[in-house]
């Protein structure tokens, strides 16, 4: 998939959760409403964020909360929470094993270095982007209005 539409939805949810803190209980139906996704998709996504230690989700008549300061949450952490295979999901090499052609035999090894460089660049940039900075941008854009 792309730099993961999931990632966009996740950030949407995290900002929502932050803005709603101590005001309304953030449930998966509510987030589904706001993001336009299916509640099950949201639940799976929240589940992944929970496993990564970014949020807590209460069972019963639920509610999601950040369990860390937004300043301590980076885009990299969010992305990694959602993509089990990490950045290799972004990077694909065509299968062409077992051919006599030496290019086919070595292309995988040749591509490894450049693709690692790209992955490192992405990771480095993602680590510098915090949820807090995105929240600041959001609040500036939205003024004082509340999520619903």
């Amino acid at each position: 998939m792309q730099l993961s539409m999931k990632c966009s939805v996740a950030i949407h949810c995290l900002i929502f959760i932050w803005e709603a803190r101590d005001k309304i209980r953030v449930t998966s139906p509510l987030l589904a409403q706001s993001t336009g996704c299916n509640p099950v998709i949201i639940r799976n996504l929240l589940s992944a964020l929970k496993k990564a230690g970014l949020i807590t989700v209460d069972r019963g008549p639920g509610g999601a909360r950040l369990c860390r300061d937004p300043e301590q949450i980076t885009l990299y952490q969010i992305y990694m929470a959602l993509e089990p295979k990490g950045l290799t999901s972004l990077i694909g090499i065509h299968p062409c094993q077992g051919r006599s052609c030496p290019v086919a035999q070595n292309i995988r090894a040749v591509l490894q270095k450049p693709y690692h460089q790209v992955a490192d660049a992405i990771a480095g940039t993602m680590r510098e982007i915090t949820l807090a900075s995105m929240i600041r941008d959001f609040e500036q854009l939205a003024g004082g209005s509340q999520p619903d």
Copy 2:
């Protein structure tokens, strides 16, 4: 798609074309054989590389050649030749317009900056990786053997 499997195939082809220069005529059936792709896919791919000015392809009983020094061909050029939409193909934002929720209304704008930063990091890294460097790595791995 991922950092474009197409991209891997394209690099495969370019290395092949380089190694075969002045030795054998590189045709789409031959590249299809080596890469494991369909000849039509290869032709479309070569066509894109041609439009980008990286190679020439002769009609009739064909043959592809680089029309630039490998030192002057970067991963960025290759990628851009293949992905008309550029790096935005890698980056997706879920559609959630026309909702009353302020998060939904502003999420696109909020994501724009971080995603641009990521795209810039990718572009910068890709510009530093040349076909020549990949060819060097390939030759080191493959020793002196010929493509077929």
